[in-house]
């Protein structure tokens, strides 16, 4: 063996001595074994000082052996994988593990910040609320940075997380949290009963407290019984055992959150594998067998390294064969604590003394004491003499007032046990107090959840098995599984007697919340200052708000609060329990959805063709759309876009507009239906015709627009804007299913069925003739403006053709089945060659719609009415429609509303910017003369200047007025003219031509 693990017992434990593992702590190399946690390996190497406390930077050691650990927090791993505040007590040891202590400078051993202890008299609870107020400016400059630097224990990596995460769903009849005696018994009963079972264990081995405390079950040694139980469960096809998995939360409808640390026990996850996986487990029933947490007793110096929970000491000795101390004193107020004395003696360690707060102890323990040759002192520990290197001496106040001192290098403490009431309390159920065990037990658990065993306050081994087994059997029955559950495992119940001791008066700081440095006197101070509700206590002292969420401190804290305020503990009550039960990496909640996979990506049918053309793409919603198609030699986007616009206006161009929402509206009442959802009439639309339609919300504000065509008596083809496609479908289904169920109409989204292209420009018809079957009549007479019909293409392909124009040119939109979309783009290029056809992107599309004064997203902003947009005349007065009544409210028809108007700088060379505000010329801009703003702008190749649309007070009445564009953000002020919003071909001759 390479390492000298001085505190490792020669034999025993569940570590694999054949696999020696080297690891580093604060740069020093140590060795441990497979099966160790970082904490147990440190214990085996005699390392006691592992961290510095939050506020006073006091030396801290290892207090527990589980996820409740408040002190032994380290930065695990390095570089981009550094994980701050990692509990050494749950970190599984692996070859090359690298950990560093936190919150100290320059070193753990010599921490200058320990000077804070000198200011301890001032650094009491809430001191910062009373000072740092003068002068005001100093807060951000001096006080706060200092406080922020001091606060927080570990350092985050500060680099992107290189590991992967994913999320998955699991379904079962019964999910079980914890694999101790109660959990295993529950799994056996439920599994035998035929239930689908998921057993979650946060540890990397099954067994829970049995691993440390052993015992005899069904006449077998605990370890053997566990092995058999696991074997039986593993053989059941519908039982899934998940180790390294913590059930952290319960949500509505029997949904449970669990985190699986898939590869945290390796230096880095293997290729193609994730670091952690988030599980959403859907279960009909849940058995909480999460056990209980041993609680400390608050006394002076209770945070000295070497002071450890009695049960944790047993874990280290029995499970890990590592000895935290050589000469151990035990301070207990209950029977269970004595097991640590038994364990120590069995392991050949010295027991210095047992300090028992109770008046008398059992004969068995008396004889143990005499055999072990140690005294039993009746009283309480009220002080610890020691330092960063551990405990030296313990002072005891004996019942009756005398004092005693005990020489020891370790102190095991047992203040009784607190059932883990987290999961059962996450739906705001408040745990109830039980005097016999002086602890809170689950009450008001979420539907379908039941606690069993120690988690339910049943501390005897026999009782744990019984409760677990019965809960498992009941859960299976409730889930409708009727199989036989076989025989219940049996064991004896140990005696349990406890005399509550929460706080022992003494000299020096006595810590309630060790991680947040909250002392007993802080709790008393809070009470004195009126923070008497437990929630106030928590918020004022930060008790229980550290990374352990107060698992070892909350109950003691409110017990002390109860004492000083003269209330009982149940009267004082608990704070609200909140998930997650253990902290969960943010990356795990995100799973696969990060970086480019944050959201799905939608691609148009011609996407890959456009990419080949070198198109620049823009994100619109989930879509990637071609924004423009740069050509060699073009110096910027504006040059490319201007070329595209000129090509369309002067010849012909095409653009993939498949992103528009497309909906088939079928049925005899289709027309009547559309009359109710649009402000204008559609039942009167002739077959073979298209019409522009405008939809309002029920509150009278414009919702969406688009052209809708009538392809048959009982078949309309409706289009929506790209942005609103999904929402309009939902809205129409609401109208169909909820508002107007009497109408015979059917809706189907065909957005993905059709690839749709706009073909625009004076040569559009010439190009189209090359594409469609020569038999099709495309003449202005045969297929006039706003015509819509099915056509056959050369080669027989069926398509839909619409004579509609967004650009203001003679234009068509043609739809082909989506898998022909790419072919259509290629064919348009081939057929269009003689006409100089030019593909154009969304920028050119935008330029041409602004030149034509068509409104779009920036104008349909959820606050504009049809009249604001200049479309008020479309509102039918002959029919009811969604939004009709509310649209008439006084403020929505007020004369001074901001309405759409054209805007152009008086200086033709001037660039116009969206977001600039409009104020009367010559006036100083202020809240009272802020009359509107520029909504959309473009450089118009036709007018050879920047133009735009805006929403301006009484804008349409002020055509020709010169006003001021005010843009303080960009430091610009300039004159603009309000003008007609249709800049190009106002009488529309070109699109009809």
């Amino acid at each position: 063996m390479r390492g000298n693990q001085a505190n490792r017992l020669a034999a025993g434990g569940l570590v694999d001595r054949s696999e020696e593992i080297s690891f580093r702590f604060d740069g020093k190399t140590f060795f441990g074994f497979k099966g160790d946690t970082l904490a147990s390996a440190l214990v085996a190497n005699g390392v006691r000082l592992v961290g510095r406390s939050f506020k006073y930077h006091r030396p801290r050691g290892i207090l527990t052996a589980g996820s409740e650990e408040p002190n032994a927090l380290v930065e695990l791993r390095s570089g981009a994988r550094r994980e701050p505040n990692t509990k050494a007590t749950t970190a599984e040891l692996y070859e090359g593990l690298d950990a560093a202590s936190q919150n100290r400078w320059p070193s753990l051993n010599f921490d200058v910040m320990a000077v804070n202890q000198l200011f301890a008299p001032i650094f009491v609870a809430g001191f910062y609320y009373k000072t740092f107020m003068w002068p005001a400016k100093f807060w951000e400059a001096i006080y706060e940075p200092a406080i922020r630097r001091a606060a927080g224990l570990g350092r985050a990596a500060g680099l992107p997380d290189p590991d992967h995460y994913d999320k998955a769903w699991a379904h079962c009849d019964v999910v079980i949290a914890g694999s101790g005696p109660a959990g295993l018994a529950a799994a056996l009963a439920a599994g035998r009963g035929g239930a689908r079972v998921i057993l979650c264990e946060e540890d990397f081995v099954l067994g829970g407290r049995l691993l440390a405390d052993g015992g005899t079950i069904d006449g077998l040694p605990a370890a053997e019984w566990v092995a058999r139980a696991v074997a039986e469960l593993t053989a059941m096809p519908d039982v899934r055992i998940m180790t390294r998995t913590t059930l952290f939360g319960v949500y509505d409808g029997g949904t449970y959150g669990a985190i699986e640390r898939v590869n945290d026990h390796l230096p880095v996850p293997p290729e193609h594998q994730v670091r952690q996986r988030l599980w959403r487990i859907v279960a009909k029933r849940c058995v909480v067998a999460a056990g209980s947490i041993e609680r400390p007793i608050v006394f002076a110096g209770n945070d000295t390294p070497g002071v450890m929970m009695a049960s944790a000491m047993r874990s280290y000795i029995n499970r890990y064969a590592a000895t935290p101390s050589r000469r151990i004193a035990l301070f207990t107020n209950n029977e269970d604590g004595w097991r640590t004395a038994e364990t120590a003696i069995a392991a050949g360690l010295q027991v210095a003394a047992v300090i028992d707060a109770r008046p008398d102890v059992s004969p068995a323990h008396r004889s143990l004491a005499s055999k072990g040759g140690f005294p039993v002192l009746h009283g309480s520990v009220n002080g610890v003499d020691g330092g960063k290197n551990g405990v030296r001496k313990i002072s005891v106040s004996l019942t009756g007032g005398a004092r005693a001192e005990v020489e020891a290098d370790g102190l095991a403490v047992s203040g009784g046990w607190n059932p883990a009431v987290g999961l059962t309390s996450y739906h705001r159920g408040r745990p109830k107090w039980r005097d016999d065990i002086a602890a809170f037990v689950p009450d008001g658990a979420p539907p379908g959840m039941i606690a069993a065993g120690a988690a339910n306050g049943a501390f005897g081994l026999g009782a744990c098995l019984r409760e677990g087994f019965e809960a498992g059997a009941a859960a299976a029955r409730d889930a409708g599984r009727s199989g036989s559950t076989g025989s219940m495992p049996v064991a004896n119940d140990e005696a349990f007697s406890l005399m509550p001791v929460w706080h022992v008066a003494g000299k020096g700081k006595a810590f309630v919340d060790q991680q947040h440095d909250v002392t007993a006197s802080d709790v008393e101070l809070a009470q004195r200052e009126g923070f008497q509700s437990v929630e106030h206590l928590k918020r004022y002292t930060t008790l229980g708000m550290a990374t352990d969420q107060g698992k070892t401190s909350n109950v003691a804290g409110l017990a002390i609060m109860a004492a000083v305020s003269g209330k009982s503990i149940p009267e004082t009550g608990t704070t609200i329990y909140r998930p997650p039960y253990v902290p969960v990496a943010i990356g795990a909640f995100a799973g696969h959805h990060r970086d480019e996979n944050f959201h799905a990506t939608r691609l148009t049918p011609s996407h890959h063709w456009a990419a080949e053309q070198g198109a620049i793409f823009v994100d619109t919603g989930l879509w990637k759309r071609a924004q423009w198609y740069p050509r060699a030699g073009e110096k910027d986007w504006l040059e490319s876009v201007t070329r595209e616009v000129k090509a369309v206006r002067g010849g012909v161009g095409f653009c993939d507009v498949s992103t528009l929402g497309k909906i088939d509206v079928h049925g005899p009442d289709a027309g009547a239906f559309l009359d109710r959802v649009y402000i204008n009439a559609f039942s009167s639309l002739a077959v073979g015709k298209a019409r522009y339609g405008l939809m309002l919300r029920e509150d009278g504000i414009v919702y969406d627009d688009g052209t809708t065509s009538r392809l048959a008596e009982d078949h309309y083809f409706l289009t929506t804007t790209t942005a609103k496609a999904g929402l309009v479908m939902q809205h129409l289904e609401f109208c169909r299913q909820v508002l107007f169920p009497e109408l015979d109409v059917q809706l189907t989204s065909v957005s993905d069925q059709w690839a749709q292209f706009s073909i625009a420009g004076p040569k559009a018809r010439d190009l189209l003739k090359e594409i469609v079957d020569p038999a099709e009549d495309l003449s202005n007479e045969g297929f006039p403006f706003m015509g819509a019909r099915a056509v056959k293409l050369r080669g027989g392909l069926k398509a839909r053709l619409f004579r509609i124009s967004f650009s203001g040119e003679m234009a068509f939109e043609i739809s082909v089945p989506a898998r022909y979309g790419e072919a259509m783009a290629r064919n348009l290029m081939i057929a269009g060659k003689p006409f100089g056809v030019t593909p154009y992107g969304t920028e050119a599309l935008g330029v041409m719609r602004i030149e034509k004064g068509h409104v779009a997203g920036p104008e349909l902003n959820g606050t504009t009415t049809a009249a604001d947009l200049g479309l008020g005349k479309m509102m039918s007065t002959k029919k009811d429609f969604i939004g009709r009544v509310m649209a008439g409210r006084e403020a929505l028809v007020a004369p001074n509303r901001q309405v759409v108007v054209g805007i152009k700088p008086t200086d033709k060379a001037r660039r116009l910017r969206s977001g600039a505000h409009i104020v009367p010329k010559g006036e100083t801009p202020g809240p009272d003369n802020d009359q509107g703003y520029v909504t959309s702008v473009c450089f118009s190749p036709v007018l050879d200047q920047w133009i735009g649309l805006g929403l301006v007070e009484r804008g349409r009445e002020r055509i020709g007025e010169i006003v001021q564009a005010h843009d303080p953000l960009r430091g610009e002020d300039y004159d603009v003219e309000l003008c007609n919003s249709v800049f190009y071909d106002p009488d529309g001759g070109r699109q009809r031509g």
């Binding site: 009373k130 009126g530 008497q532 004022y540 902290p583 990356g587 995100a590």
Partner: protein
């Protein structure tokens, strides 16, 4: 008693044995000039302004549980005045100015931290909308800057610029925005109001209103008996509909759950408050070191003060998409508050149709930053029976008149605001 480093040092000498309660835990009297329902930030601030600005000191604040137990103690502590519509812009700036002098006003350190609030944009359309909003702010004398990507890279190099689904293009920055310690705001107003004689009555739940023959509200019935009042103001965001119903009123409000999250405490990582423009995520780091973050409401009516997993995932996805370095930072605690979601996303501060009853409601998830401003304008309304000029548009009848103040343009669909 006066708080300062000196009183603190003095107290230290006597082992802090002489501190008095931060506020008097009062028992109800028979009658008050003004009774305020709700011992949250807004209610306590209203009481303090009534006493300090308007000289009305015979005031009681009634709290069902412990003060600050509602949204005042559950929010993500952000303060800002970056609103774009008339009515909001001026009001939130009034509030911001009051934040800037709060410690001195109250002699209590609420840790007001003007570290800057930045709203990130990811598209030209978003940039234009922010430009419009930022210009509105500047026109109203509020600080605002439009940053481009280069400036952002300098300021926040840790954002995801290289592998983003929706690349960050820039942001609208308000440097005066930031955070404050939410509980301390509650305690500070309680402390200062109590010093001026206001009665703060905890564990006192209002169960009904007493009315005279003309229907005028003359007081409240509570779990601690009848209490007479010249005027009654309600500041119970989250429960507004329930309290209003006791007076026979229906409000344009729905109660929704908004979740919030805090991570384990870590050393300083994030310098300011940032809001993702392409997903539901905003975050700041508390002085204690935890990342305090949130996103969108769960989306369904709820009084449960807890939410569900889809939103937790959605928010963390947003966080990872924007700041990939937080992947290994652990989420420590999730909780939920009840939001008064109004029909246009804007609050209501007005007389109610019931004589003697005044409403302060509909804060959606923007209530915390409004705390001081809300206190001042509500106190003004209660004291003078007319709206403060910066709250003149927060009228209850604006929906009937069609004068909504809809920043998001979502209309009468509360869960979209």
């Amino acid at each position: 008693m006066k708080y300062s480093i000196f009183s603190l040092a003095r107290a230290a000498l006597s082992g802090h044995k002489n501190w008095k309660p931060t506020w008097r835990d009062a028992a109800p009297k028979d009658r008050y000039d003004v009774v305020i329902i709700g011992g949250g930030g807004h209610g306590l601030a209203t009481a303090w302004f009534l006493a300090s600005e308007f000289g009305i000191r015979n005031v009681a604040v009634l709290e069902k549980g412990w003060i600050g137990s509602g949204n005042a103690g559950r929010n993500t502590t952000i303060i800002r005045s970056n609103y774009g519509l008339p009515g909001n812009t001026g009001f939130y700036e009034l509030s911001m100015k009051l934040w800037e002098r709060m410690e001195q006003d109250l002699n209590y350190n609420a840790m007001v931290s003007q570290r800057g609030v930045i709203n990130l944009y990811h598209s030209d359309a978003q940039r234009d909308a922010y430009a419009r909003r930022g210009n509105t702010m500047r026109i109203n004398g509020i600080d605002a800057e439009l940053l481009d990507q280069a400036a952002l890279k300098k300021m926040m190099p840790f954002l995801n610029f290289d592998h983003a689904r929706f690349p960050v293009q820039g942001g609208l920055l308000q440097r005066r925005g930031g955070t404050a310690r939410h509980d301390a705001v509650v305690w500070g107003y309680a402390h200062a109001a109590s010093e001026l004689g206001v009665d703060i009555i905890q564990n006192c739940e209002v169960t009904g209103f007493t009315r005279d023959a003309n229907g005028k509200v003359t007081g409240v019935e509570t779990s601690r008996g009848k209490i007479g009042a010249g005027k009654v103001g309600m500041a119970v965001a989250g429960s507004s509909s329930r309290v209003a119903a006791m007076a026979g009123l229906r409000l344009p409000i729905e109660s929704h759950v908004l979740q919030a999250f805090v991570s384990e405490a870590i050393k300083p990582l994030l310098p300011n408050v940032m809001t993702f423009g392409a997903g539901h995520f905003y975050v700041s780091q508390s002085d204690k070191g935890g990342l305090v973050f949130g996103g969108d409401i769960d989306g369904y009516n709820s009084y449960a003060q807890r939410g569900n997993l889809p939103v937790v995932e959605d928010v963390c996805e947003g966080g990872m998409a924007l700041i990939p370095m937080i992947g290994r930072v652990r989420l420590l605690r999730q909780w939920g508050g009840i939001m008064d979601m109004s029909m246009d996303g804007t609050p209501i501060i007005d007389k109610s149709p019931v004589d003697g009853l005044y409403i302060n409601a509909g804060w959606c998830y923007g209530g915390f930053k409004a705390t001081p401003g809300s206190g001042l304008v509500f106190a003004h309304l209660l004291a003078r029976d007319e709206s403060h000029k910066e709250a003149a548009l927060f009228r209850l009848d604006r929906f009937q008149r069609g004068a909504m103040i809809d920043e998001k343009g979502q209309g009468a669909q509360p869960n979209l605001h």
